[in-house]
């Protein structure tokens, strides 16, 4: 395969409307009539860009199809990335060599870690991002990615063919048909259409079809999916108005300054592109009773709020905040949109009032008395597909080789979309190469929790990541995402660069070595007290105390420990990241030891795979109630572990399933028959082996 790297500028420069490098040249001289790719990604948002680059990193010839190339990498809503839970996802995306973290390190204007004082397991890396820079950097990255081709075009339909007999699914996707009637063939297709499936924009009582303000929705595709039998739901979201920066009186508002020093998102960066003193501040203001009054008086002019399809439990707009929590002040963060942007994004003021009333409401707020609304806030209603129709590798049950990622699966947020994008891209590529899927378990990452929640429980409101959703929160931390995912990503998916892999290996072995050294150093507590007087070590314990236990004290870090015991600890102070990570490992060590036990229990259940082609509604050899059968039939859990998390599936049903699987396995092993069975057994064995290692 030829590489684009090094000539990225030329590709970008030569790239105009219908750029079409023919990827399939190779040895066969017969030139294909229609273009043929390994993977087609539809959509250039946060899921699409990650999916396309991940597939390309895995070695697949990939085509990214988007309505408009100049919107690739567009941040359609808030000008920020990360946060609590979301920052965790970004670290994991980065651990798999995804883009968003690295690009945020090049495009931020205000870096701040949330939850600094609440413990490193729940730190939330966050940054205000310059929209223009982000888009530029993203497009540069996309256009210089080897094996990745970008084309403008709206997809109207999917090309469907006979299913592969060795897999489940009623048909197989083998390409797409564009609006202009042309076709592109591929081995697999990833849909990352965001809010574009029958998207409707709502302002006041006006409604018009659009995926994003100024962009056409995809209607043909939505119809195709519905005809195929996908269960479609409807969700809504919204975005606040944008305000002219120079019309705001910042001098009377609370100012929030960025961290100094800035903590980068990516494991590969030691620092971000901009110095703390050059970064922009954010400001805080609050709503007041006059805002409530305008909302309440004008509810009749606000169809987005009135038509509560099925409102989410949280408050998506200022209207819902006022309705659900009346007589309160609500926070409004005034966030910069970029270094040279004239706009301010008022986070917390998402609204769908008629445009003229929006300015009236905003000018009631302190500091915004003279504010000019440049673009009104609006609501978006769009189709999503019940995510219980996809597998943990994000492939659909119904259509082979069709993958979904991002808002189409009912999530909200850039980071949630990016996380799914990476997984879909990797798996679409692995599928083409007939390799086993790359699945992240709940015990391995926030990505795993996100996808497992979606695929086993589904969602009826836009799904957002919270750390409270994660059972093993103390194990799945932002600091150790590389140890959890980079090695697997390199070995099993091939999506990780050599350089990153080597760095992660070095870090992992240094940490392990450091921890065992810290465990091996033992002194009496009184000796420790003498060595580190500032630590509040209790001298009443008669047993020797390990250096690792001393490091648990809040006031002790690797530096102070190394001062007390220079040999052999001095060398661990040389790498800042290593020193900090050792401290974090020590903080959680005792709990982690026991959490590992629970993790093993969950993993044991997850290693027990259920046959993919099991027809729960008709299978006779297993005793299950009708209700349980229906639930299993719809969600199609892939493992006993996933089945046991489906509400209403009883312990008795689980044991009966387990028994069924084991007997089937035994019988089939005895007969050693069809290749499908062999494949399934091999998968199971492989997983069990992995567990044992």
């Amino acid at each position: 395969m030829f590489s684009f790297r090094g000539c990225g500028g030329r590709v970008a420069a030569s790239f105009t409307k219908r750029h079409f490098p023919l990827p399939r040249l190779g040895s066969d001289s017969a030139e294909p009539r229609t273009p043929h790719f390994d993977v087609i990604v539809i959509g250039g948002g946060h899921a699409g860009t990650e999916a396309a680059t991940a597939a390309a990193r895995c070695g697949s010839r990939t085509l990214l199809l988007t309505h408009r190339v100049d919107t690739i990498g567009q941040m359609s809503c808030n000008p920020s990335f990360g946060g609590i839970g979301k920052g965790h996802l970004m670290r994991e995306v980065d651990a798999l060599d995804g883009l968003c973290s690295r690009i945020c390190d090049q495009s931020g204007v205000h870096y701040k870690v949330l939850n600094r004082c609440k413990g490193p397991a729940v730190w939330g890396l966050r940054a205000q991002i310059d929209r223009k820079l982000y888009k530029q950097n993203m497009q540069k990255e996309i256009l210089s990615t080897p094996l990745l081709t970008v084309q403008e075009g709206a997809v109207e339909d999917l090309i469907l063919t006979e299913p592969e007999p060795e897999h489940t699914g009623k048909c197989r996707v083998s390409g797409v048909i564009l609006v202009d009637g042309s076709t592109v063939y591929s081995e697999s297709v990833i849909l990352t259409t965001g809010t574009f499936l029958r998207g409707m924009i709502v302002i006041g009582l006006e409604m018009h079809p659009a995926g994003r303000l100024g962009d056409q929705p995809s209607i043909g595709l939505a119809q195709t999916l519905e005809k195929l039998g996908f269960v479609v739901g409807r969700l809504k979201t919204g975005t606040p108005p944008r305000i002219a920066k120079d019309s705001i009186n910042f001098s009377i508002l609370n100012k929030q300054t960025p961290d100094n020093p800035s903590l980068p998102f990516s494991f590969m960066n030691e620092t971000v592109w901009i110095k703390p003193e050059d970064q922009l501040p954010c400001y805080l203001t609050h709503t007041n009773p006059r805002v409530d009054e305008i909302v309440l008086k004008n509810l009749h002019l606000n169809s987005h709020v009135k038509e509560t399809i099925r409102g989410p439990r949280y408050c998506p707009s200022i209207e819902s905040k006022v309705l659900r929590f009346p007589n309160r002040q609500h926070q409004v963060w005034l966030e910069p949109e970029g270094m040279d942007s004239d706009l301010i994004y008022p986070q917390g003021l998402s609204m769908t009032l008629p445009a003229e009333l929006q300015e009236k409401m905003i000018t009631c707020i302190r500091g915004l008395e003279k504010a000019k609304v440049i673009q009104p806030g609006y609501g978006v209603q769009y189709d999503y597909l019940d995510p219980r129709q996809i597998t943990p590798s994000l492939e659909t049950h119904l259509v082979q080789r069709l993958f979904f990622a991002g808002q189409i699966n009912g999530t909200t947020g850039y980071e949630e979309a990016a996380a799914q994008g990476v997984i879909a891209g990797i798996n679409a590529s692995l599928r083409v190469n007939r390799k086993p899927p790359f699945v992240v378990s709940r015990t391995e990452g926030y990505i795993g929790v996100l996808i497992d929640d979606l695929t086993t429980l589904g969602t009826s409101e836009p799904y957002r990541m919270f750390t409270s959703r994660v059972e093993f929160r103390l194990s799945l931390r932002p600091d150790n995402a590389d140890s959890r995912l980079t090695l697997r990503g390199y070995k099993e998916a091939g999506c990780v660069s050599q350089q990153r892999y080597e760095r992660a290996c070095w870090m992992k072995s240094s940490l392990e070595e450091g921890i065992s050294v810290l465990k091996s150093i033992e002194f009496s507590s009184s000796k420790w007290k003498n060595l580190i007087p500032e630590a509040s070590i209790s001298t009443s314990r008669s047993l020797p105390v390990r250096a690792l236990d001393v490091l648990k004290y809040e006031e002790v870090d690797v530096d102070s420990l190394a001062k007390a015991v220079p040999e052999p600890l001095k060398k661990y102070t040389k790498c800042r990241e290593l020193a900090e990570r050792l401290k974090i490992e020590a903080t959680y060590e005792s709990v982690l030891f026991h959490q590992l036990q629970e993790i093993k229990e969950v993993q044991r259940d997850e290693a027990l795979q259920l046959p993919k082609d099991l027809d729960y509604l008709t299978v006779r050899d297993v005793s299950l109630s009708h209700e349980v059968r229906e639930k299993l039939h719809f969600s199609r859990p892939q493992t006993i572990g996933a089945a046991s998390r489906i509400p209403g599936v009883t312990p008795a049903a689980i044991i009966n399933l387990l028994r069924f699987v084991k007997t089937t396995q035994q019988r089939q092993a005895a007969m050693n028959e069809s290749p499908k069975t062999d494949q399934y057994l091999r998968d199971t064995d492989r997983l069990q082996e992995r567990e044992l290692q």
Partner: protein, 492 residues
């Protein structure tokens, strides 16, 4: 979902881990899963009770209970003095068997304690096991599951295994329902609710504390609630008398349409006037229970309101309680008026209660049902008896006593099956489970106080809540999110 029972007993566990360095000494290996224990022999009047453990800490538990002696030779019965590891108090002289994995019932390290069957001994050993770090009472079907997972049950050869599994899990489900009845259940639910709310507020503080505006003092309020809960739990655990009145024995529930003669049967079986009997339908409105000895088995006999719709609120409540009690029954005595089989209430009863129990018992042997046709004295000798469509049944006349011997004989067979089921040992196991989880909850709350790192503190609350919801059911993440979104204005 958070299964961690001994997650925070870190300090305690480090001791034994260091002590046992020899291979196969039975010391828990990190990350190999929890060790479970359960009473696995029949309860009631048996001479010997068998308590089983499975998991990596089995050998460790055996050594602790039989200290100072070392592990007995593998797969040999040895006589050992068992004593409580905390008090050193002797519990019983028992036969112990040590089965190092994989050659064991579950494929993991297993231990069997054959102890003298008295309730005091059995509960003493269960309590002692519960106090060993790394051990916890088994959940529904867990032994079987582990055996499957290790490929230990040759399933094709074991007939009726599905029944056994269903019986095990269903019996435990019924037992859990019983636990929730009564004062202790009420207390536990209240505690779980308080704890869930406190946890939700701490979680909200972590997830939204900096971006959204939570009210002031969220954390302080949670701290106050946790402290109060700690005091309440501590007091409860210290006060041994407040244990739930033990309702031992198989649960036999008499049910049927109104005026079938249920109360007459209860009085007949208990040989004393427990229930008021009158010809008026709907006389019994509450659940009346009485402990009786039937054919040598301890039985808790419950008389319930006749099942019918559309009556006054008091009777409706009685019917609701009757249905609830039916759920918990080990054995149902379904009663019909033999002279009134064609009536709508009789037909409805046959179609619903009898048919559904019948359908269940084909796939499971757990909930048993005997159909009794009462008032056989009213059937004319030549007249039409019960039709051929009638499921298997017994004829009885509570007035003349005719058919009572046959009923007692049938009861004896059913009860033998019910009481032989290892998992229907409510009182001892229930008490051990309660103690274990309440103590675990209390310990975890102690860790909450000590943790400066909020993520660690929240983890302690999660573990504490996990213990309580093991007793009360529920406990998912969605409950937490519901509370967060209900109590706080968070979102975009």
């Amino acid at each position: 979902m958070w299964r961690g029972l001994w997650t925070l007993a870190a300090q305690a566990a480090r001791g034994p881990r260091r002590l046992c360095t020899r291979r196969n000494s039975g010391a828990p290996v990190p990350g190999s899963g929890a060790t479970i224990f359960a009473l696995s022999s029949g309860q009631g009047r048996c001479g010997v009770a068998v308590i089983r453990t499975s998991g990596p800490a089995s050998g460790h538990a055996l050594r602790i209970l039989t200290a100072p002696r070392d592990l007995p030779p593998a797969r040999h019965a040895s006589l050992r003095l068992l004593s409580d590891p905390r008090s050193g108090e002797p519990l019983d002289r028992a036969l112990v068997l040590w089965f190092p994995g994989p050659k064991s019932f579950t494929g993991e390290d297993c231990v069997e304690f054959h102890v003298h069957g008295g309730p005091a001994v059995v509960s003493g050993v269960l309590r002692a096991l519960g106090s060993v770090p790394g051990l916890r009472p088994a959940e529904a079907g867990e032994f079987t599951r582990r055996a499957f997972a290790h490929g230990k049950l040759n399933l094709t050869e074991v007939e009726g295994l599905a029944d056994l599994i269903h019986a095990e899990t269903e019996a435990q489900r019924r037992q859990a329902l019983r636990q929730l009845d009564g004062e202790l259940g009420h207390l536990c639910r209240g505690w779980a609710e308080t704890l869930t709310k406190a946890l939700a507020h701490v979680e909200a503080y972590i997830d939204f504390g900096e971006d959204d505006n939570l009210e002031e003092g969220v954390l302080e309020q949670a701290n106050i609630e946790v402290r109060a809960l700690e005091v309440a739990l501590g007091a409860h655990l210290r006060d041994a008398r407040r244990g739930q009145r033990l309702r031992s024995g198989a649960h036999v529930v008499v049910t049927g349409p109104p005026n079938a003669g249920k109360s007459s049967l209860v009085n007949l079986l208990s040989r004393k006037p427990v229930s008021i009997v009158s010809p008026e339908p709907g006389t019994t409105r509450d659940v009346l229970e009485t402990p009786v000895d039937l054919a040598g088995f301890p039985v808790l006999l419950s008389d319930t309101a006749g099942l019918r719709e559309g009556v006054g609120p008091v009777e409706q409540e009685g019917v609701r309680r009757a249905r609830e009690r039916l759920e918990q029954a080990d054995l149902i005595l379904a009663m019909l008026d033999a002279s009134d089989l064609a009536s709508p209430s009789s037909c409805n009863f046959l179609a619903t209660v009898v048919a559904s129990a019948g359908a269940q018992s084909r796939s499971s042997s757990s909930q048993r049902l005997l159909l009794v046709l009462n008032k056989s004295d009213l059937l004319s000798t030549e007249g039409p008896g019960p039709g051929p469509d009638m499921p298997p049944h017994l004829l009885l006349s509570c007035v003349t006593g005719e058919g009572l011997d046959g009923l007692l004989e049938a009861l004896k067979m059913e009860l033998a099956a019910v009481c032989g089921d290892p998992s229907t040992g409510p009182p001892l196991l229930t008490r051990a489970r309660h103690q274990h989880h309440l103590q675990g909850c209390l310990d975890a709350l102690g860790h909450y106080k000590q943790s400066k790192d909020l993520a660690l503190a929240a983890e302690a609350l999660r573990v504490a809540r996990g213990h309580l919801t093991r007793l009360t059911g529920g406990g998912g993440t969605e409950e937490i999110l519901d509370i967060i979104f209900r109590d706080f204005c968070v979102g975009k």
